[in-house]
Symmetry: C2
Subunit: 215 residues, 2 copies
DNA sequence: CATATCCGAAACTGTTGAGTCTCGTATATA
DNA sequence: TATATACGAGACTCAACAGTTTCGGATATG
């Protein structure tokens, strides 16, 4: 790309081809993490490359050596956002749908969900203009949550706990959708009380299970 | 953008042919409408005052004579957003909760909801930094939709159709939340089929009504 | 030490857009 | 006609930020 001096350019190409020197790029993870942090705090438009560089204690040039533009950096950061990925091996398996769902209500997972929602909110402006980013965001942020619920529901169907006719896709999205709505649009906290009300008052009845006896 | 040329085309007379436009003392409504349009299409950060001025066929100075800043303009535009306000006199009253809810599914109201969601999406970046704007957006965009559902639910309770114990607040937000999630995060269309599935498969069962016999 | 690459810091360029200002014109009122 | 005002058009200033370039220091290798 950058040509400072013809002879130097030729020299660089020759050496790099001969030695095949390792492309370090060892700072990538720190930079991507910093990008996600800044994005979550400021949104796409409010985020600057200088902020990312400062947070990662990296030089701006280092970032531009690796990613051609801010948009590419954000796309990569979202796509690589494996931090807090769900470990399917350690998911609860309590024997009842309600047990599984309630077991997922932990400060840790709530916090994680809040963070992801904030990242998503920061991306809203870009989603319409960048389908690539929209897909990456969906895969990294929305899909993992729904997948867990889907698994719980399928398991409940297999064991005959709930009806085979119930709309698994709809129900798998129910908790994420209501949580996102409450957090982003209503700006109210998504706490255990809310989630239990949602599970007992909406999800389980819709899955064909009666309200719990207490009522 | 603008070329600095001493002997520029200052002497353009093209505009002099314009017809005598009636000068209302206030161009406020046109400007506010234009602001909402531009906001819905570009989001807060993507919207420029020049765009608003062009759309309203107004001068930039006219806008700044009325509102001290872009943020004030947007806040006012959202707060004054009465366009498409729900007419409570003409709401359906079919005698059943399902009838009322299904009667609300019309191209007109879906279109209106999509528009509001797009405006909301454009505001996301600002919501965290401006509580005033967040309140205005909530009151103008979210609350009216929920209020209608709340009324339907209360009416159904009064006539003994559904249980008095059901969570009216939660259920009133169910359709808006699922629609917003589907539209903004999943980027899928919110059509009649989706809404009917949601009503029959989730809302009515959660309200204590059985699934419809068809199954 | 010699050589080569990578990196952080920071100066720099170019563009964009918020907010200001001026001016010519249309309208209203007297 | 004279005067005052509101407006559209658009030039202007200024700051922020994307992206580029330079440079000096660190590190690695022989």
């Amino acid at each position: 790309m950058t040509q400072l001096d013809p002879s130097a350019e030729v020299d660089r190409i020759a050496t790099s081809a001969k030695l095949g020197r390792k492309r370090d790029h060892t700072r990538d993870p720190e930079i991507l993490d910093a990008a996600i942090d800044v994005l979550a705090e400021n949104g796409f438009d409010g985020m600057t490359i200088d902020m990312v560089a400062a947070r990662a204690k990296a030089g701006k040039a280092t970032i531009y050596r690796r990613w051609p533009s801010k948009a590419d950096l954000v796309l990569d950061a979202v796509a690589c956002m494996k931090a807090g990925e769900i470990d399917f091996e350690r998911l609860p398996d309590t024997g009842t749908l309600r047990g599984d769902l309630v077991a997922m209500i932990r400060p840790r997972s709530i916090e994680e969900a809040e963070r992801k929602m904030r990242i998503m909110a920061g991306l809203f402006g870009m989603l319409s203009s960048s389908p690539e980013l929209a897909d990456a965001a969906h895969a990294a942020i929305i899909e993992p949550r729904a997948a867990v619920n889907r698994m719980f529901l399928r398991r409940a169907i297999e064991r005959g706990e709930i009806s085979r006719d119930c709309d698994v896709e709809m129900l798998a999205n129910l908790i994420p959708a209501m949580a996102a709505f409450r957090l982003l649009l209503e700006r109210k906290p998504v706490d255990a009380e809310f989630l239990v009300s949602l599970i007992d008052g909406v999800l389980l009845p819709a899955a064909g299970l009666d309200r719990r006896p207490s009522a």
